[in-house]
């Protein structure tokens, strides 16, 4: 065996281990979610056991989890929707009508990402308390709009820039106005990448934790907060229930994995052409 093939073999082994480490922890968590407590609290990890649906039934039946799920869906959904309605046109304007502020605008949008979330959350808590909107869905949607709007603009500018200019020129010659070109030409052509950008924004706010922790106490609590409260339970920990709630929390983002990987592919394809 030559050194080269041996090297390849070792390389494949390392890749295999990395792929195993990527998926096994979540698989193990999902497995634990179907176990009775006695099958989790064992000296040796169990792979064969009698599955139970009790954990999921308990989690889904709990009012706090259900409320968290509804809050998460409403808050993330509304923030992403408003972010897309306002952000996509703005991104198109930046991509297609560059002016002397374009670079500054892009830097401003990116710089929002530098802000430590704790630095936003503390003053916002005081502001929402003063206005009487603390711990409401409305205040959470407005706060998350900052995240979704900035993210959608940032990711959509390159998507619009990739739309061939000739197509838009041809439409203009055919008598389309600037707005018609955006809605009827640019938007449909860039749609695939734009869906990726919007999906990314959704995953971002669905997973958001620190701001939600500071801005909600009961009524508007999102699912990550409810799940984390379950994980902080004391000694007699209901491990099966914890695993089930973590699985529930992780399903929506994982549904978008195909879309996000497609966005990654198209983002890097541009450079090869």
């Amino acid at each position: 065996m030559t050194a080269h093939t041996l090297g390849r073999l070792v390389g494949r082994l390392i890749l295999g281990l990395a792929a195993f480490s990527a998926v096994f922890p979540m698989f193990w968590t999902a497995l634990n979610a179907f176990k009775n407590r006695v099958d989790i609290v064992t000296p040796t990890p169990l792979f064969l056991f009698e599955p139970t649906l009790d954990n999921f039934a308990y989690v889904l039946g709990r009012e706090s989890v259900f409320a968290g799920l509804v809050n998460s869906l409403l808050i993330s959904g509304a923030a992403v929707l408003i972010g897309a309605v306002l952000g996509l046109p703005a991104a198109y304007a930046i991509a297609r009508y560059p002016n002397r502020w374009s670079r500054d605008i892009q830097f401003f949008v990116l710089s929002l990402r530098f802000l430590p979330p704790v630095a936003i959350a503390i003053p916002l808590m005081v502001i929402w308390l003063d206005f009487g909107f603390y711990d409401t869905r409305l205040s959470m949607i407005v706060t998350y709009l900052l995240l979704t709007l900035a993210t959608i603009i940032w990711l959509s500018v390159p998507a619009f820039a990739r739309v061939p200019k000739e197509v838009e020129e041809a439409a203009r010659v055919d008598g389309y106005g600037p707005y018609a070109i955006f809605f009827l030409i640019a938007l449909p052509i860039a749609l695939r990448s734009l869906i990726g950008a919007v999906a990314f924004a959704f995953v971002l706010v669905w997973n958001e934790f620190l701001i939600a922790l500071m801005l909600t106490t009961s009524d508007a609590k999102t699912l990550p907060i409810v799940a984390s409260e379950l994980t902080q339970l004391g000694r007699d920990v209901p491990w099966g229930i914890l695993n089930a709630s973590v699985v529930l929390l992780s399903i929506p983002p994982l549904l978008f994995i195909g879309v996000l990987s497609g966005m990654l592919n198209s983002a890097f394809k541009r450079k090869t052409q």
């Binding site: 949008v109 503390i122 799940a227």
Partner: protein
Amino acid sequence: MSQKNSLPAVFLTPAMGILAVLALVPTAYAIYISFQNRELSRPDGSLVGFANYIDLFSDRRFINAIGVSLTWEAVTVGMTLLIAVGLGILLFECVSPRTRNLLALLFLVPVILPRVSAAFVWKFAFHPLYGIATYPYKAITGQPLDLLSNPATALATVALVDVWQWGLFFAVIVLKLLETLPPQPFEAAKLDHARTWEIYAFIALPMLKAPLISLAFVKMIESLRAFDLIYVMTRGGPGIATETLDMYAFSQGFIESGRISYASSMAVLMMIATSIAFTFIWKRVQ
């Protein structure tokens, strides 16, 4: 595209207006609160000037938090890039395109998980009695292994989860970057009998210098968001061994005393430090 029309103004103004209000109002308010002595239990504070800032510099927990945060940044950024480049090259070199795409998809799983989920999954995996990651150690030595309660290993253990999420994700990006490189320099080097590692060390990676620096930049920004992992896994403990700046600001403002003005002054300092550092790096990258 030079003809005058209303589209840029109509499309940009609402979005930028909202972003400006949502970003600037809290920022300005954070600065304002930091000059007061406001507490959660006492909504009306009075102005105290720089008192909070002066107190910070004699606060040993604050100094400790700066150290933890800097260590966290250095370790997570460094390890993430190391793993990303290593695995990215292996993906490019060792497997067929089809396996490559499958592995790339699997490598995206950790980063897509909510950080709360990732934190819990690993917290349970590292459980001294029932954890699957600590099981081999327990089976061999007969002793439980409690990494998260040991001040010497707690931060590294949490950092492992962060690197697990970002290192695998960035490996996919490094792979995509390698795929965009023209093949000619590689072929020329092979004709000159260059070894594989030499091709990467002297040709491929220098060609990717700019995007790799951008990746480091992105990771530095993302590493500032350590809070979720630390909150679920250790809550800053044991003691203050894993207490980063945002964790300390949170516990000052919420858990312990509700000193929001004091927490705010910390947040303002973080904001200033990160803005200066990142504006500087951004201008250099451009």
